[in-house]
Symmetry: D2
Subunit: 338 residues, 4 copies
C-alpha cells in the first residue's frame, strides 16, 4: 500500500508534493524514493516527522503500529491519513483518538470503498429515497488467496474479520446510516488448515443488528479461487440497490463448452480508482477545499464491530456492542457525505 | 396450490388420471372439478380417501392440517404428495412419519426447488466436484408483497421463517450434503407493521452451521417490492456456483433515463416448471419408474430448522439442533439425487 | 414441427380437439396418432381434408408443398395454420393467397416469434413511444449446427436465407412498422463446405432499407457451435430496445478458469412457449375470440424479402423490392397487434 | 484530444517529457501549457517543430490538416503520433506516407481501441484459436449526441463514416486479420435533420466483405441518446467472442418500476485507459522498447474503407476496394500485435 500511495502522490494528486518516504527495512525507503523521484528517505519515521515544511503524512505501516505512529504524527502537528484498520484494540483506537483530538489536526481513515463510484452512487440513491427505508444490509467480501501466514496472525493483521470485514462494516454503517448494536458470527477454518497454526481462520458469516432495527449479514472468505469478489446490497422498504461486479474485461467467449468471462483478480484492479480518489480527497481536505471524509471515529467504529464479531466467533454467542456513547458521538459521522 | 396441481394432473402429467377433488369450502370442489373435467368432488376429504381405485393423493391443505390428513391418507393406503411445510411442529411431523412408515406407502414432500433446472444443475456441478468442498451456503428469498394477515399468523402458515425459509433450508441441506446443527436469527418487523398484530414479522437473516463445519446464511423478506427474488450460492474450496435470476423477459430498454428490465413477478413465473416436474416425478415414483424424491424426513428436517430459527429470533440466542438421531437417519436423504 | 403441434393440440390448447393426423411416410401417421391419442390417421392428407366436422388444419409439410396443400385445404373450407415459409416462390405465394381469399377462410402463418413474451413486450414498448421513432433494426439469428443436406437444398427449405432469416424479416417489419424496400447481401460458405454440393451456404449479412427510411441489418449463420443465438435490437430516435438472450439455466460456475454459464441449445428451448402460444391464438382466432395474427400477406412479405436477399447474394448487387401494391395492402398487417 | 494528450504526457507517461504545445487559437497554447506545467507554447506549430531536442510530436489537429502537419513534422525528423483519421482523402494519405517513408521516422496512428484491455484480449483469444477461423465481424458504434455542425461537415471531420466507423474498420481488419475488399452502405438522416444542411447524415449500416471471404457489418449512429455504446463481436467456425459493455457503475437499482442501471456517458469514460496506453506505447516505441503499433498503412486502410463506404452510401451501390497492392503491403500490419 505504501508504494501505491507513493505512486499516486508523486504523479496523480494535484496539489500534493511527495517530500519523503520512511521504511524501517534497510534500503527500501531509498529505493522507493528513487523510483518516485522523492528527495528524502528515512529508516526511522520519526526523522520524517521532524522535517520542516511537512504538512501531512500517510501511514501505511502494520496495523499494530498505527496507534503509536498516529500519536507521534499528531504530536508533530501533521495532518494524518491512516490505512485501515485504525488499530487492533479499542485501547489503541482511543489512544489515537485522544492524540488527534488533542492536536486538532485533520485525519482520514483509509476506508476507500466510500470513494468507489459504485458505492458513492448507491449512497446517493439511498439518500434520495430511491429504495425507501434501508431494511437489510448484505455484503460478500471474498479474497482469491490465502494471505501470508506471518500477515494472517491476529496480532499483525487482526485476523480474518478485522482484516477483511472492516470494509463491509464501514460501508454498512455508511449506507444504512445507523450503528451496529449486535453481532453473531459463525466461522471456521475450512480450506487453509495452515491458518490454524497462527490462530486465524478462513471463512465467516456475521449477522448484524443495527440501532435502527435493520438487519445485516456480512460474509468474508479467503478462498474465492475464481477471483476477487466484493458485492454489497441494501434491501429497503421500497426497493433494493446492489453494488459490485466480479467481471474483469467486457469480453465474452462463447464455445461448445459454454460462455465464459474473466474475473477481477484482486483489490487494486477493483478499487484502484477509489485508492486514488481517497488520497485526492485527503489532500483537498487538508487544503480545506473539501469536507472531512471517513473519520477517526469511523475507524474506531469499524474496529469495534470487527473485534466484537471476532469475539462472537470465539465464544459462540451474540455480542452486544456498548454503543450508548458511541451512537451519540458517531451519529454525525454516518450521516456526512463520505 | 391445489388448483395448480389440478391443472397439471388433468393435462400435463403422463400416466396420471385426476379422479377427484375435495375442498371443505362449499361448492369449491365442484367448481374446480368442473373446470378440470374431473368426475368426483367432495366437501370432506375422507370421502375422497375412501374411493375405490384411488392410488395417490396430493395434499395442499393448510399446513396446520397436514399431519391429520397424512394420517388418514396413510391409513387408507394411498401414496402421498404433501405440500411444504410437512407440519407446524415436530410432534406433528413425527406423527405423520409414524403413519407413513406404518403404512409403508410412497411419500414425497413438496420441495419443488430440487426440480428446478438451475438448482438441479448446481447440485450436479457440486457432485462432480466443480467447486471442491462446499464451504458456505448463501440464500436470498424475497417475496414481493405482504401475505394476507390471516395466512401470516404462525398457527396457520408457521410465520415468516417456516413459510418461506424452509425452501432455502432444504436446498441448503441438499446442495451442502450436510445437516444444519446450529442457527442464529436476527429479524424484525421493519416494513409491514400490521404483521405484528398477528404475531408475524417481515425480515430475517439466519446464520447456519452445518455438521460438516460449513457455514451458511439465509435471508428472507416479504418486502421486495420490485419482484420475486430467489438467489442461492455455494462457495466451495475451489470455486463457487450461483443460482438464480430475477429478470423476467429478455428485453432491455435503453433511454436517457438509463437501462432497465423487468423482474419475475412471483413464484409461479419463477418455479412453474419445477411445480410440474415435481408432480411428474411423484407419479413416476408411485409407478416405480423413478427413485424417491424429497422424503418425509426431508420435510421434517426443513421444519425442524425453521422452528429452531424462529425460536432463535424470539429468544435472541443461537439454537442448537438435537440432531444425533436425525443426522444418522437423514444422512442418506441429503445424498439421494433429489 | 408436426409432432410438436400434435403434442400441443392434444393436451395444451383449450378449445381444440385433435381429430386426425396425416403423413405420407407409411406408418408414421398411425404412430403419431397413437402417441397422442388421436382417432384417425391418414397417409394422404386429402383424406384428412375430406373428414366431416373438421374445422381447421395445421400444415407442417415441406415448404415446397405449402401452396398445393393450402389450395386443397382452402377448397375444403378449412381454417388454415401454415408453418413458415409460406412458399418458396412468389408465384406459389400468390396462388395460396388467391385460394385463401377465394374461400374466405381464417389463415395464420407460423411466425411464432411475434408470440414470444420478449418480442411482444418490445413491440408494446415501441408502440408506446418508449424509444421514439425506430431508426435501425438489427438481428442476429444463429443456428448451432449444419442442417441435414437434403433439407438444406434451396428447392426444399429455400436455402439459408429463406429458411432462417425469414423470422428476422417478419419481426423487422413488425417492430419497425414499415416495409422493406431494398436489400443487399454479403454471404458465403465459410465453415460447412458440404453445403456447396447442394447449392446452399452458411453465413450471410443482409442490409435492409425500409419504406420509412429506416435501416436494418440481419445476420444469419449456421455455425454458432456454442448454441442457439437469437438477438434483436431496435435503435430509435430516443432510445433502444434489445431482445434476446442465449443463456440457458440461471447458473453461474466460477472457478480458477473464469466464470461460465450454459447456452440455450436450440429453437424449442428458446421458443417453446411461443410455439404453444401461436397455436392457442390460432384456435381462438378460429373461434372468433381473437383478432387475426400474422397473415398470409405477412407470409408473402417475408418470403419476398428472403427471395430478394438470396438474389442479391447470388448477383452481388442491391435488389429493390416491387412494393407499390404490397405496401398499400400490407400497411395494415404491420400495424395489427400480432 | 490535444488537452487529454497533454494531461497524459505531462504526468502519466514514464519516459516522456512534454516540451511544448502549439495551438493556432490565440492564447490557447499558453493556457494549456500553464495548466500542465509546460515550458513552451506556440501559435504556429512550425515553431514547435523547429525546437532543438524535440524527439516526437503528437498531432491532434483537424483531420483536414493532418497530411500537411505530418509532412512538416517528417521533414523536421520528429517521430509522429497522429490522431485518426490519417486524412480525408487517399491523396492526402499517400502524401503523408511518402513523407514518413522518406524521413524514416517512427509513426503511430491513433487507433486506440487496439489498446483497450477488452479488444486486446479478444485478439489474443482469436490468435490462440479459441473461436476457430473468423467468419463474421459485427460492430456497433453509437454516439450519444449530435456533433457540432461545424465539426460534422465532411470537409472537417470526414462525415459520419470517416469520423466514427473508422474505429470499427480498423478493429475489424485487426481482429479478422484480413483486408476489406467490398463495402455496401445503407444510411440516412433519420433524427437530426440539421445535419443535412452541412452534408452529413446520422445513421449507417455498412456490409463488409473481407479478402479471406469473411463477412462483416458495421453500424454507426449519432443518436444513442441513452449513452455511448460500442460493441463488437466476431463469430468464428468454432465459437464467438463478444467485446463491449455500455454499463457504467456496477450498481443495480431495483424498484417497483423494474431494474435499472446507468450507461457509459461517452468515449473518455469508455476508452480513457486505452488513450493513455496508446501514448505510452508510442513513447516506448520511440525509445525502441516496443514493437510498432498501428501504422500509417493501418491509418490509410481505415480511411480507404471509410471513403469507399461513404461513396457506397452516396451512390447506392457496392464499392470494391482496389486492394491488389494494399493487401500485399498491409498483410503484415493486420498480423502484428497491435
Amino acid at each position: 500500500m505504501g508504494s501505491i500511495f507513493c505512486g499516486h502522490l508523486s504523479r496523480l494528486v494535484p496539489g500534493a508534493e511527495l517530500a519523503a518516504v520512511a521504511d524501517p527495512v534497510p534500503g527500501l525507503a531509498e529505493r522507493t524514493a528513487a523510483e518516485h523521484g522523492v528527495a528524502h528517505a528515512f529508516v526511522n519515521y520519526r526523522d520524517l516527522l521532524s522535517m520542516a515544511d511537512l504538512e501531512a503524512v500517510i501511514i501505511a505501516t502494520p496495523a499494530s503500529t498505527h496507534a503509536d505512529v498516529i500519536e507521534d504524527a499528531a504530536r508533530a502537528g501533521r495532518a494524518i491519513f491512516c490505512e485501515k484498520p485504525l488499530a487492533l484494540s479499542l485501547e489503541q483506537c482511543d489512544r489515537a483518538i485522544r492524540a488527534v483530538e488533542g492536536a486538532g489536526i485533520p485525519f482520514q481513515i483509509g476506508h476507500m470503498r466510500r470513494f468507489d463510484a459504485g458505492y458513492a452512487r448507491a449512497r446517493r440513491l439511498i439518500e434520495e429515497g430511491a429504495i425507501g427505508e434501508p431494511v437489510t444490509f448484505k455484503a460478500v467480501g471474498r479474497d482469491p488467496m490465502m494471505p501470508r501466514l506471518d500477515y494472517a496472525r491476529p496480532e499483525v493483521s487482526g485476523g480474518l474479520i478485522v482484516d477483511m470485514a472492516i470494509h463491509d462494516f464501514d460501508i454498512g454503517r455508511w449506507l444504512m446510516r445507523s450503528e451496529v448494536t449486535r453481532v453473531f458470527t459463525e466461522g471456521g477454518t475450512l480450506v487453509f488448515d495452515e491458518l490454524n497454526t497462527v490462530g486465524d481462520f478462513d471463512n465467516a458469516v456475521i449477522n448484524l443488528k443495527f440501532a435502527s432495527g435493520a438487519l445485516g449479514n456480512v460474509e468474508v472468505s479467503r478462498n474465492a479461487l475464481y477471483g476477487y469478489d466484493i458485492r454489497t446490497e441494501v434491501l429497503g422498504s421500497k426497493g433494493a440497490v446492489m453494488i459490485g461486479r466480479f467481471r474483469q474485461t467486457p469480453v465474452l467467449l462463447l464455445t461448445g463448452e459454454g460462455v465464459g468471462y474473466d474475473v477481477v483478480p484482486y483489490i487494486t484492479e477493483r478499487f484502484g480508482d477509489a485508492y486514488l480518489a481517497e488520497v485526492r480527497h485527503f489532500v483537498r481536505m487538508v487544503q480545506r477545499l473539501e469536507e472531512p471524509g471517513p473519520s477517526i471515529y469511523d475507524g474506531r467504529a469499524g474496529t469495534e464491530i470487527a473485534l466484537a464479531a471476532t469475539r462472537s466467533y470465539r465464544e459462540g454467542r451474540p455480542v452486544t456492542l456498548p454503543l450508548a456513547a458511541a451512537v451519540a458521538r458517531d451519529a454525525e459521522s454516518t450521516r456526512t457525505p463520505q
